[in-house]
Symmetry: C2
Subunit: 222 residues, 2 copies
């Protein structure tokens, strides 16, 4: 479910093929009468209230198809993020925004990550949700089939991220906010990378760590 | 106000001189009877409820002195963060945690930044609140008196942060989540720095940007 005129407009612009249904109030439908190939259903304010997950629904609700692993995930020739149990909606949204900043086109999430259409996720992406593809899958099974790509993981010990240089291709695995990367995923890792620590904090926030890693490994060449 | 046994214990360990009063239930006082030089007042559960800012108070509340500009802020020979109107408590807490990770000892906040003892700030610091000094001051006035130190600012245009190398000394100014650095602060900036963008996001979260900048400018030498 994607809600509100701003987000729905962005999705209609960038990934219309994934919009299954649009339920909107009369006013929104009138303003968007020029749109073709979109199934719109007019609802009353109280009808919208029933469908919406928000306390204060905002004109329009779209039912959006999630990317499933049935859709082909192409990993060759690019950097992709892999999220293992990122459960905080704010972190997931912030990571989507970071991916969009660094030109990372796709994120592969374990099935127990936060829901991409949770309003807090949507809010934290600041619009980037319409530009980054987010897939949900059984990570263990999916990683098993990734034979020809290097898999990196952000851990508390590993190779200094500031000394690796930029990568053209690879999967970067980010782990859960408190438990890190799960043991069944760890075994697929080819290279452990770490953000050197000078002070005493025990860890970094998962989204902050993702931003730092991409700023080093995904940096713009010139 | 700092609340709960974990945070109060960390503050008692690292900055006891700033703890003005401790109000706690009988059980906590008994467990901490070995502490000297701390003024403890025993309160009932319902008494604690009246003092506490939390819905569910947790054994102890400490009244803590904020660092004021009357305290000397020493900026020579180190990197310090300067926050201009960081209003989201989660962002402020996350920035304190990042500073602690990269060994940045002090943060100078404008007076309209979130309150460091807001429970959401405390939570987001994950304990780092006890190790990083956070001062609140009139930034414009304070920056006017900083004659012998280089002032850097994170902006959407400037020198590529990945090409500056590590800095031994300086002030790094981070601006408000949506408005950026205010115009009256911009005039004190000696060097504009930026995080190169490959994709389409309009901006990065303030805490994420801080983490990225410190990972490049404050990195560990080896």
């Amino acid at each position: 479910m994607a809600e509100g005129p701003k987000l729905v407009a962005e999705l209609l612009g960038s990934s219309r093929e994934n919009i299954l249904e649009v339920h909107a109030v009369k006013e929104w439908i009138k303003e968007n009468a020029h749109l073709h190939n979109v199934v719109m259903t007019e609802v009353s304010e109280s009808g919208l209230q029933k469908i919406s997950q928000l306390k204060t629904p905002n004109q329009v609700v779209a039912v959006v198809k999630k990317y499933e692993t049935g859709d082909t995930i192409i990993v060759k020739g690019k950097l992709s993020l892999v999220l293992d149990t990122i459960q905080d909606p704010g972190n997931l949204g912030t990571i989507i925004r970071i991916a969009d900043w660094f030109g990372v086109e796709q994120i592969i999430c374990s099935e127990d990550c936060a829901d991409i259409y949770n309003p807090k996720v949507v809010q934290a992406t600041m619009g980037s949700i319409a530009r980054v593809k987010v897939f949900y899958t059984d990570l263990e099974e999916w990683l098993q089939s990734q034979k020809d790509i290097r898999i990196y993981a952000a851990l508390l010990e590993g190779k200094d991220v500031t000394k690796i240089g930029s990568l053209k291709e690879g999967l970067i695995v980010i782990g859960n906010e408190s438990k890190g990367i799960s043991s069944k995923i760890i075994e697929f890792i080819n290279e452990r990378i770490t953000i050197p620590r000078k002070g005493q904090a025990e860890s970094l926030n998962a989204a902050v760590a993702t931003g730092i890693i991409l700023s080093h490994l995904g940096k713009v060449e010139s």
